[in-house]
Structure formats: C-alpha cells, structure tokens
C-alpha cells in the first residue's frame, strides 16, 4: 500500500535574530562573514512564552486552512520534537485537543533532530502499510534557540525556530514516498548535546567554559562540536545517498532535485561537491530561516514547490542527518 504526501505547510515566528545584531555583539565577525559562511541572514526566534507545540499548532492550522483538509479524517498525529512542551504528557496529545482533532486518533511524539522529518515519513508509511491509519498529520517543531547560551555566537548564527505540518495519506497526494535508508551511530551523541536538565543530570549546575574570553560550552546549553559534525556528515551522507538510490532502484542522473537537511551553506556545498551533484539540482533554503532542525526539509520542499523547482514527474531525494548521530533518506516521486 502506498503512502503519499498530500500537503506541506510551515510556520515560524516573525521576530528574528539578524546578522547585524550578532556582529554588533561580536565585532570580530562581520555581517558579510556570517552570511558568506552560513548562508544565513536572519533566523526566527520564538518568544519565551512560545513553545514547540505552539509553533506546530500554527503550522497545522495553516495546513487545514490552505488545503481544504477535513480534521475529521485525521486518524494519526505524529509530532517530532526535542523541545517538548512538558516532560509529560506527550505534546501530540495536547495538540489533538488544541487542534480539535478526533479523539479516535493515535498520537505520539518522537525525539529526533535533523533526521526527524525522514523518520516521521517512514513511521507514517509504516502506519499506512499496517492499516493502522489512513490520514496522518505529521508535525515537526523545534525551539533550539532556547537551548543556546547567550554568549554562544557559533550556535546563534546557525539555528532558527520553526514548525512544519505534513499530511500523509493512503489514497491520493502529490508525491509518493519511496523506500527508506536509515542509520544511527550513538558514538556521536556527545558531539551535539544538551547535557543537563533531563534525568541523567537533573541539576542545571553547568558552568561556562571559555578559552581566552572565547565562550566554548556550558552543559546547561546546546553544545555542538562543529568540526566533528562536519566530519560525520562528510563521511556518511555520500554513502547514504548511494544506498538510497540503490534501494529505490533509481540512478543518480534520474534524481531531479536533492533536498538535504539545511545545516549550513558551507557544509551543504562541501557535501554537494563531494557527491558531485550539479548546483542546479541542489536546493538551498536557509537565508531567512537558518537551520530549523527537523523542519528544514519540509520548509525547503514547500519553497521548492512554490517557486516551481519541483514539478510533476520529478524524483526528489530528501536526506536528514545530524544529532544522535542519526540519518535517513528516501525518494519522493512527484
């Protein structure tokens, strides 16, 4: 039984952290340097009172408003986040009520970052195959900026807050979801982590670690070892693409567009060249949103659809990779 993407929408706050502000606080980084390196000019930042669940709610309401989709037909709600509203209950349960969705639906959260959109699609496909559900509302939402230390200029330049909403259906839609290639390597857990505040280390007793006035890390906040993440990506993504093509019995040349997790422009460009993907087949969308973790792929898909970079008949390879380490990819047949 096939699973198809019927509609995609996204939402982000309209308050931004702009390069000018980062440069003002860190004069050694010019506005030009920040944008040249990351490909990002501004990133949406959620207000203190706005949660991932709130952002996902807005994305979902947009999906219903703009696509004539009946809430009554939704029989499963999936929510991907690493910044849930509460320890419990599951944010997806709260969203069921807030969105006015039927009580007969199944609802779960799952905790993944940059690979989350791919995993969500694979779970949705599984739910359809097992006939557990026919119309799945899949939401992603993240407020990583709340994890970031005020002095952490590196992470501040990268991450933005956003949410996405995708409807996956068993009967019709704009893109059939292909076969999945997934992977995990927990040895990389320490390289992208928020250590304190959950149940392994409950106390927020981290201290600032600096090197000659340069902020390095605080275990209460998001820590990213950029070099190691780059290393992991450079090694794993080319193989991920190759295996995904093989599994789907599709040649490299047959792919019309590659939509990868929008980590940062420099890294994306490096992987693109390494795999040998021509620039016109590679989609970038991070100038005004930044790296929105699990929402980058659906945001890029939506923008590519809007501007006509994805047309009927296209094969689009989507891939996510990062925190975990966790990675995954599939092919969407439009």
């Amino acid at each position: 039984m096939s699973a198809l993407i019927k509609a995609v929408e996204y939402y982000h706050p309209d308050t931004y952290l702009e390069n000018e502000q980062i440069s003002k606080e860190n004069p050694e980084w010019s506005v030009e340097k920040i944008s040249a390196k990351t490909g990002i000019y501004k990133r949406p930042v959620a207000a203190e009172s706005i949660s991932s669940g709130d952002l996902a709610y807005k994305a979902a309401e947009k999906l219903f408003a703009e696509n004539e989709i009946s809430k009554d037909n939704i029989d499963f709600l999936l929510f991907c986040t690493q910044s849930p509203d509460y320890f419990l209950p599951t944010t997806a349960c709260v969203l069921q009520d807030k969105l006015g969705l039927p009580t007969k639906l199944g609802a779960i959260d799952f905790n993944l970052g940059c690979s989350g959109y791919i995993y969500g699609l694979s779970i949705a496909q599984g739910l359809i195959s097992s006939q557990a559900a026919k119309n799945i509302l899949f939401l992603t939402g993240e407020t990583y900026t709340k994890f970031i230390h005020p002095k952490d200029k590196s992470n501040k330049t990268i991450f933005g807050d956003a949410a996405s909403a995708t409807l996956i259906s068993n009967d019709d839609g704009m893109a059939e979801i292909g076969l999945f290639e997934l992977g995990t390597d927990g040895r990389g857990a320490e390289n992208l982590i928020v250590k304190n505040g959950a149940f392994k280390n409950r106390k927020l007793n981290g201290e600032d670690v600096s090197n000659e006035n340069e902020f390095l890390r605080n275990d209460n906040n998001l820590y990213m070892n950029g070099g190691e993440i780059f290393n992991f990506t450079a090694r794993s993504v080319p193989l991920l693409v190759k295996n995904t093509l093989f599994k789907n019995n599709v040649s490299f040349e047959e792919i019309d567009l590659f939509v990868f997790h929008q980590a940062n422009k420099y890294m994306l460009n490096f992987i693109r060249k390494k795999i040998g993907i021509p620039e016109e087949k590679f989609y970038y969308f991070l100038e005004n949103v930044g790296n929105t973790v699990s929402s980058t792929v659906p945001i890029a898909l939506k923008e590519a659809l809007n501007e006509g970079s994805i047309k009927k008949g296209y094969k689009v390879l989507i891939a996510g990779f990062g925190v975990g380490y966790s990675w995954g990819a599939t092919i969407l047949n439009f």
Partner: protein, 79 residues
C-alpha cells in the same frame, strides 16, 4: 600518484570561500585569513583524505601553517 604543489594548493584554496579562494598561495599562513574557521579545516582534511588517501590527525594538522607545509606532510606520508 604524482603530487604537484600547484595543484594541491589550488584544491586547498577551493575549500575557502569568497575572495580567500584567491588569497591562498603556497606560502600563505592560511589560518590568518578572514574566512578561516574550524569547518574550513575539516573540509581540507576531508579533501586530502578523498583526493590523496591520507588521513591527517587534527593535532598534526594544527602544527602545519601553510599549504606547502601541509603538502610536504602529505607527501612524506605517501612515501
């Protein structure tokens, strides 16, 4: 494979962005360039691994100051 310093420096320079692609010469102290950062370093290490089959440990890489020094290191390792 024969190694060539000119070609090596070109590949090295291509890991930089903007004007620094042109600013990287054989004896440039590349870490002093404006667009240098740790990601550029990882890209250079990855390029050398792909194109020359040599893995440079990060600690060794940090001791090398110019493309020529990196080139000599890689050349010695290949022998």
């Amino acid at each position: 494979m024969n190694m060539d310093l000119k070609e090596f420096t070109e590949k090295f320079a291509n890991q930089f962005i903007d004007d620094d692609v042109k600013n990287v010469k054989e004896t440039t102290a590349f870490r002093e360039l404006g667009t240098w950062d740790s990601l550029t370093g990882m890209a250079i290490i990855a390029m050398i691994e792909d194109d020359y089959g040599i893995t440079i440990p990060v600690d060794d890489f940090l001791q090398l100051k110019t493309p020529t020094e990196v080139y000599e290191y890689v050349k010695n390792k290949k022998q």
